[in-house]
């Protein structure tokens, strides 16, 4: 049982991050805090992808003369990292749009609290 937890500790941290992010999105009333929750949720998935690329006794994916290129087991899997570069960029763009919308909301309603906003809209 202990092995099950210790052997998968990277995934457990991912799950904890994912839960924190979902908690922030669902239960926080302040829109900035919701956005932070969203960022944590996205980062948890990025961390998941990075952790599936890792390998024991392997090095980073930069060509090293000591490890011939035909022995791919010596290198980490580079694909998840490259995918996550794109995903991080997407995350940054999402945050940019989110903060732009928050500025527009604040200029129109002068509050970022969800309950006050719903009252003012109705």
């Amino acid at each position: 049982m202990l092995d099950f937890f210790l052997g998968h500790y990277a995934y457990w941290f991912t799950i904890i991050l994912l839960s924190i992010g979902l908690y922030g999105i669902l239960f926080k009333k302040n829109l900035i805090k919701k956005t932070i929750g969203l960022a944590i949720l996205q980062i948890s998935v990025v961390m998941y992808f990075v952790s599936i690329a890792s390998k024991w006794d392997a090095t980073v994916t930069v060509l090293n003369p000591d490890f011939p290129v035909d022995q791919v087991a010596n290198y980490l899997n580079p694909l998840p990292h490259t995918l996550m570069l794109t995903a991080i960029v997407v995350g940054v763009a999402t945050l940019g749009v989110a903060f732009t919308l928050l500025i527009a909301i604040y200029n129109r309603f002068e509050t970022l609290d969800e309950e006050e906003l719903i009252e003012k809209i109705q």
Partner: protein, 493 residues
């Protein structure tokens, strides 16, 4: 020569015009809208050409940079993607023509960024449909979504808040989808849909595959406004500018439905989808609840755009129901409904935009019989679209429901049958009350005489697209056997 590059041309047209519009728009802002129409028109032309090409000669697989999958990224232009690309580009073309006067009135001076964003959003949607790579699909999903949030944020005072809610829930959905892609990647080692589909039969009843399926359906279900995940839709469609709504509403949820089709029928296949739990049936039941919920909420609304938004929740249910039936006629009915609903919803949202432009509101409780004198053609188009929405023959809406009904009887799926029939009645309730206000006044009851109204139809640039879409509903209705014959060939097994 041109055929083999066609999928890339469709996507590149939108890239090109999303750059051209700022360049020319800075020089002359009035050029933005014609350029956007031109871009969508060229893409629609390519899609029409490509659709017939695919029907005759089979699917086109376009490898980017000549790298063959699974190493490279590919665009897969098969029957299903050709059909969806044709529908969304044709509808977008008419909606963009229509948006000329609305954009001048509702967001003056912002035409250039608006149309550039519209092109980017269409790029995202086309890319989602065309791509054959699951991660590439995520990237296009986010391009389309980010542009869509910005388009929805242009509008009434609460529009940014509606867009923000959509952003939070939509990005969370996209992230869950990405996590599902991660699971699939760890078990198969590939991201290419065709490649992965070939490996999945070996992973029958794998927990990781099951979890990935759930995550993907939930993530994409948010975008498709599948029943419990529809919360963002009514506010977004109501508060966004009329032209944004007319652009996003007929296209956005359909593309998400396309991804569900692609994932459930092509990638996993119906056997693996139902291997651990009856997922397709659960999705169908959710669709049923959505159909009834959307119809009932639509009856409770007096604002026309909000009513149409709830009606969208209900109509997307039909499409997903056809998917959950997972047999040829249900599939053809669902795809025909994609076409019908895209045309009907575009037509109805364009009419609500016209009324907002002319009357300054689209509150149905303030409609009266002067409208039939002031806007005879608008109201005639509204009537055709509304009757098609209810599903009366010979209009298009009848036939998609007809095929779905036939298939539910065939499967002895009485729950779905009852839901379709009840929902048609509910549709009749919420559309006929508008028609009653506009067309019917009982003179014997001593009501005041019909109000006189000057003939004041909106400009031809708005009337022509609306009328063409309304007439095409009749044409689709009569040509349904032809269309369904083509659609049946697309069915994967």
């Amino acid at each position: 020569m041109i055929e083999s590059h066609l999928p890339a041309y469709i996507a590149l047209t939108f890239v090109l015009f999303s750059v051209l519009i700022p360049v020319f728009g800075l020089w002359k802002s009035e050029l933005s809208q014609p350029l956007a129409v031109l871009g969508a028109g060229i893409a629609a032309g390519f899609s029409l050409f490509g659709f017939f090409d695919v029907i005759n000669d089979g699917a086109i697989r376009y490898y980017f940079g000549g790298w063959e999958p699974p190493v490279g990224i590919e665009f897969v232009y098969d029957g299903l993607s050709a059909f969806f690309v044709l529908v969304i580009n044709a509808v977008a073309f008419f909606v963009l023509i229509h948006s000329h006067h609305i954009s001048k009135r509702e967001f003056p001076g912002k035409e250039m960024p608006y149309y550039s964003l519209a092109m980017l959003m269409l790029l995202g949607f086309n890319g989602m449909i065309l791509t054959g790579d699951l991660f590439n699909l995520y990237v296009f999903l986010e391009i389309a979504s980010l542009a869509g949030y910005a388009l929805i944020a242009i509008g009434d005072k609460p529009a940014p808040y509606a867009a923000f809610r959509y952003l939070i829930i939509g990005t969370a959905g996209g992230t869950l989808y990405l996590l599902g892609v991660g699971y699939m990647y760890t078990v198969t080692g590939t991201l290419n849909i065709i490649d992965m589909a070939a490996m999945l039969p070996m992973l029958y009843e794998s927990n990781a595959v099951f979890a990935a399926l759930i995550l993907m359906i939930v993530g994409i279900g948010v975008k498709a406004a599948l029943f419990p995940m529809h919360g963002w839709l009514p506010d977004s469609y109501t508060y966004a500018s009329s032209s944004s709504t007319a652009l996003v509403a007929p296209i956005g949820t359909k593309v998400a439905a396309y991804i569900l089709f692609r994932i459930i029928l092509w990638l996993f296949g119906i056997e693996i989808t139902d291997a651990v739990a009856p997922i397709s049936y659960i999705v169908g039941v959710l669709a049923c609840i959505g159909i009834l919920y959307g119809s009932i909420m639509a009856i409770a609304q007096s604002e026309m755009k909000r009513m149409l938004a709830y009606s969208s929740v209900s109509q997307i249910g039909y499409i997903i129901m056809g998917l959950s039936l997972a047999n040829p006629w249900g599939f053809a009915g669902a795809l025909l409904h994609v076409l019908n609903h895209a045309v009907m919803k575009a037509c109805l949202f364009m009419i609500s935009g016209q009324l907002r432009l002319k009357e300054g509101h689209s509150d149905m409780s303030r409609f009266d019989d002067s409208y039939r004198k002031k806007y005879p053609w608008t109201m005639a188009s509204f009537t055709i679209a509304a009757i098609s929405m209810i599903g009366l023959p010979p209009l298009a809406g009848f036939f998609s429901k007809w095929y779905l009904v036939l298939e539910t009887i065939d499967n002895s799926n009485w729950l779905f049958l009852v839901v379709i029939l009840i929902s048609s009645l509910l549709n009749a309730v919420y559309f006929f009350r508008v028609l009653e206000k506009v067309y019917m006044m009982d003179p014997s009851k001593g009501q005041k005489k019909p109000k006189d109204g000057e003939y004041s139809e909106p400009k031809a640039s708005m009337m022509i697209p609306t009328s063409i879409l309304a007439i095409s509903l009749i044409v689709i209705g009569f040509a349904n056997a032809l269309i369904v014959g083509v659609l049946l060939n697309i069915f994967p097994f």
